[in-house]
């Protein structure tokens, strides 16, 4: 039996890392006393290797034990500190032990771990090894540290490109660039408007080298090209969340990020939809307010229709959150708020639950509405509404009515209508009369709660 896996190289010749708790005696390594931990990172006069090529820690003064033995000058790699951090969170201020038996006994392991796919073979192998070792030592109680793991997708940037004519400081617009020999160049997306037009003055001020740039335009403007690629400073396509939060609020930002698509999928950043989500937030707020913008809930009993809208939402939101399908939850909220707006519903019995449902996605607005409705904060202490199936049961079924297999119209009937009554009612409709020839019908086929087919 053979494995491709290698032992993990654990030392780095760097300054900014954990010092090894190790000293050397006659060339052999020994650990320092556990009581002496932590062995603190020393100060150095420069972060470069020494002239002899030793790591930066070799520059530290008195980098020796109390007995004068030299300490290790390598430091640990990046994955050292991230291999057991999930355990330390369980009992982070314990200065006697890594974590207490009680803490690990209670929290056990990570139920849901979310992070980037780039750690598939690094961190996620090392952390599992670290955990298994501590398991062998009897310190942790689960063999595997991360029960469920999900990789979120990457949000890609939408870069803007200008086209420089080779050897010149002249730039040609996107639509006519093929007539020249050009090199594409990433330009700061803040210099480009929503219609991909470049702010030429801004561009000249962006970099000293472009101060005297000239442009070949099409229809009087300079159009930039686009590329969907990694969001990165060097590609000048980074979108900063702070500005968006200032403009639209954090709730809108949270909802919008989720609305972009399935969590695990990579997708390009696209600002166009954020207004729609912003409108949704305001529409939601309006449900709780009257024309004068006064908070206003009615204590009347909700109608069956209102309860149906609410309980459909309760069920769908729960199901979708459980499978981490957050984008569909946002759609569900939109439908729900639209329906309740149409029904002019401001009943406390409905909207109270809606606030709780919204709170994981839009916690700020939910807190405010919760308090306005007279409940003590925080809404985080509320309980998820209980779904009652009876409210969503349909009392009617809409039959497609076919003639010789072709659907001609639809007919809504109460669910428990008998076959005889269905036949009577369908044949009595004016639409049916239109399709029945003078000779009458040959046969009527009824599948309850499915279809009605009339053979003529």
């Amino acid at each position: 039996m053979n494995f491709r896996l290698r032992d993990a190289i654990f030392s780095r010749q760097r300054y900014w890392g954990e010092p090894f708790p190790v000293y050397y005696r006659e060339g052999m390594p020994y650990p320092i006393d556990e009581e002496k931990l932590p062995l603190q990172l020393p100060e150095v006069d420069s972060y470069l290797p020494t002239k002899n090529g030793e790591p930066p820690l070799a520059r530290a003064k008195n980098w020796v034990t109390e007995d004068g033995y030299p300490l290790e000058t390598n430091t640990m790699p990046g994955f050292a500190g991230s291999s057991g951090y999930y355990l330390r969170y369980m009992d982070p201020r314990n200065d006697k032990e890594y974590f207490s038996k009680d803490a690990v006994g209670y929290w056990q392991d990570v139920d849901l771990y979310i992070g980037g796919a780039e750690h598939a073979t690094g961190h996620l192998i090392y952390a599992r090894f670290w955990n298994k070792f501590l398991f062998d030592k009897g310190l942790v109680i689960k063999q595997e540290p991360f029960k469920k793991l999900v990789n979120q997708g990457m949000i890609q940037g939408r870069s803007s490109l200008v086209y420089r004519i080779k050897g010149k400081n002249e730039f040609v617009s996107y639509g006519i660039k093929d007539q020249y020999d050009t090199t594409p160049l990433n330009v700061d997306i803040n210099l480009v408007n929503a219609n991909d037009q470049l702010d030429m003055e801004g561009f000249r001020h962006w970099r000293a080298e472009f101060e005297n740039a000239s442009f070949i335009l099409e229809d009087g403007v300079y159009l930039c090209g686009n590329e969907v690629e990694k969001m990165s400073k060097s590609l000048h396509n980074v979108v900063n969340p702070d500005e968006l939060i200032e403009k639209y609020g954090a709730d809108t930002f949270r909802l919008y990020e989720m609305f972009l698509g399935p969590l695990e999928q990579s997708k390009p950043w696209d600002i166009h939809g954020i207004e729609g989500v912003f409108r949704f937030i305001r529409k939601c707020w309006k449900l709780f307010h009257n024309q004068e913008n006064e908070f206003c809930l009615s204590d009347e009993q909700p109608t069956t229709e209102e309860l149906k809208v609410l309980h459909r939402t309760i069920r769908k939101v729960e199901e979708d959150i459980e499978r981490l399908s957050f984008n569909t939850v946002v759609s569900t909220f939109m439908i729900c708020v639209n329906d309740l707006t149409d029904l002019k519903c401001n009943k406390r019995a409905v909207l109270k639950d809606l606030v709780i449902l919204l709170s994981p996605f839009a916690p700020y607005m939910a807190e405010e509405l919760w308090e306005l409705a007279g409940y003590p904060p925080s809404v985080a202490n509320a309980a998820y509404p209980v779904f009652i199936p009876a409210y969503v049961e349909e009392s009617f079924f809409t039959y497609p009515v076919s003639f010789n297999g072709k659907t001609r119209f639809k007919l809504e009937l109460p669910l428990n209508t008998s076959m005889e009554d269905i036949e009577k009612q369908v044949l009595a409709t004016p639409e049916a009369q239109k399709w029945i020839p003078p000779q009458g019908i040959r046969k009527i086929i009824i599948v309850p709660n499915k279809i009605i087919n009339i053979v003529v």
Binding site: N2, F3, R4, L5, R6, D7, I9, F10, S11, R12, Q13, R14, W16, E18, M28, E34, L37, P38, P77, G78, A80, G81, R88, Y89, Y106, L112, I114, G115, G116, A120, G122, I125, F129, K132, F133, Q143, E144, F146, L149, N151, Q152, G157, K233, N240, D242, A250, R254, E257, L260, W285, F326, S359, P360, F361, Y364, E368, P377, S378, A380, Y384
Partner: protein, 461 residues
């Protein structure tokens, strides 16, 4: 008037902090639920809109679970040691602790704006001495442990010392760098230095002369997952292979358990498959090939296809193979040394991935195929890796695509031993078919032939 989100969000941020709304303590009256984000490295650029995607998802889930009656642990911290802060320090003289502190503050502000329900009382920073005390502590535990294959777990080194005193290495089944042999009683006569050397051979954190990915620009070694196509993932600087004394973690002792554990977790199949490939288990047989004219040495290989041994028409060693210097004949010395020098600068993953670039040189020596008794030439090529298996292979060009490409390039003989393919076009790698040109296993199916060859190897030993 519209919804004034600016005021409302400010108000509740304050409320949450002042009332410790998201503080979590162990509460045995409630079921626990632990929702974790991979903590960020606090870079100077701050968070862009891509970073919070996962954080928002986990925050929604954590809040939902709390509404459902769970006691939810949802912490956040900072993976604060890292190369960018150090590079910045080298450029500006600014202490990395200072830049890191500034960056963490910025991250914290951004994260707070987004309304996450973190219990900030639990924040950890990997560069904080109260945190890395436990990273160092775990290192000492690893240093003081060895892996007993009999109990299939880590055991204290003190127990290993007692074992050595009583039994020497007799009956020991331990994960180690190389197999060692000494008899009971010998241990006590070893010098302290010798004892420590021997123990390093077993410790789970050990010091060893190792081939590493050395990045001269960054002045440090890099892990395999930090190197891509011969360049550092961060910065894209050239990486070369170099022998250096390094600390290692004996993670390979856990290979099988790391594989088995994947069956117990709810991860995507693609991620599990990536880990399986990275761990890369294969089953097969070890075979010793005597070297012609050098009776004191033999070359050990590991093969998953002992059935194809009659088709082994040459051998290939990794450029780092320790017996290589003894095998190079005088007239081949210059060519082989040049080749070894070149191969040094390619990372392992790259060497494995680049199938098209076929390179290699003949050492001048021959081995004897222990089953067919044929003399076969010994080559050196970098598609064979020093650390995987034994660093040497028996090449079966008719039934291995890389050996095939190699044989075609250097006009080495290709002998078909499993029927079913057309070896004038391609190698036939499938593990099915009847054996031909293979002496006592002719006519057998692959599976049967594997067993027969292993039996023969064992009885001849």
């Amino acid at each position: 008037m519209d919804y004034n989100f600016t005021e409302v969000e400010k108000k509740w941020r304050k409320f949450w902090t002042e009332n410790a709304t998201y503080k979590v303590t162990t509460d045995t009256t409630k079921p626990k639920f632990y929702v974790l984000d991979m903590f960020p490295y606090p870079s100077g650029a701050g968070l862009h809109v891509g970073h919070p995607l996962g954080y928002i998802g986990s925050d929604i889930y954590a809040r939902f679970k709390r509404l459902k009656g769970f006691n939810v642990l949802h912490p956040m911290g900072f993976d604060a040691y890292g190369l960018p802060a150090e590079q910045y320090a080298i450029q500006t003289g600014q202490h990395p602790a200072v830049t890191t502190e500034v960056n963490i503050k910025r991250y914290r502000e951004q994260l707070d704006l987004m309304g996450f329900c973190y219990d900030w009382d639990r924040v950890v920073r990997t560069c904080d001495p109260t945190y890395y005390k436990w990273t160092q502590w775990t290192f000492i535990q690893l240093f003081n442990s060895w892996y007993d294959r009999k109990t299939d777990k880590a055991e204290p080194v003190s127990a290993l010392i007692s074992y050595f005193e009583k039994n020497g290495t007799l009956g020991l089944e331990a994960a180690c760098s190389e197999p060692l042999f000494f008899i009971p009683g010998e241990w006590n006569d070893f010098s302290e230095t010798r004892k420590q050397e021997i123990l390093l051979n077993y410790r789970l954190a050990y010091l060893s002369e190792t081939m590493v990915n050395w990045c001269p620009y960054l002045g440090t070694v890099l892990a395999n997952d930090e190197v891509k196509e011969g360049l550092s993932v961060r910065g894209g600087h050239l990486v070369e292979r170099k022998l250096m004394k390094q600390w290692l973690l004996r993670i390979t002792a856990y290979s099988q358990r790391l594989l088995d554990g994947l069956d117990q977790v709810d991860w995507s199949e693609s991620l599990k498959e990536m880990q399986r490939n990275w761990i890369g288990r294969s089953e097969g047989a070890s075979v010793n090939f005597p070297v012609k004219g050098l009776p004191e040495i033999s070359l050990e290989i590991f093969t998953t296809r002992p059935d194809t041994i009659f088709g082994a028409t040459f051998m290939v060693l990794a450029p780092e193979h320790e017996l290589l210097p003894q095998l190079i004949t005088e007239e081949r010395l210059k060519a082989v040394n040049e080749y070894i020098h070149q191969a040094k600068n390619r990372s392992e993953r790259e060497r494995m991935a680049e199938v098209k670039k076929v390179t290699g040189v003949f050492t001048g020596s021959y081995a004897v195929n222990p089953i067919s008794k044929q003399d076969i030439p010994i080559w050196v090529a970098d598609y064979v890796l020093a650390g995987y298996g034994t660093g040497a292979i028996m090449a079966v060009p008719a039934h291995d695509s890389r050996d095939y490409a190699f044989a075609k390039t250097f006009s080495l003989p290709i002998l078909e031993v499993v029927s079913g393919g057309d070896i004038s076009e391609n190698s036939y790698d499938a593990k099915e078919g009847k054996l031909i040109n293979s002496g006592f296993i002719n006519g057998m199916e692959v599976k049967e032939a594997i067993r027969a060859v292993i039996t023969r190897l064992v009885t001849e030993k």
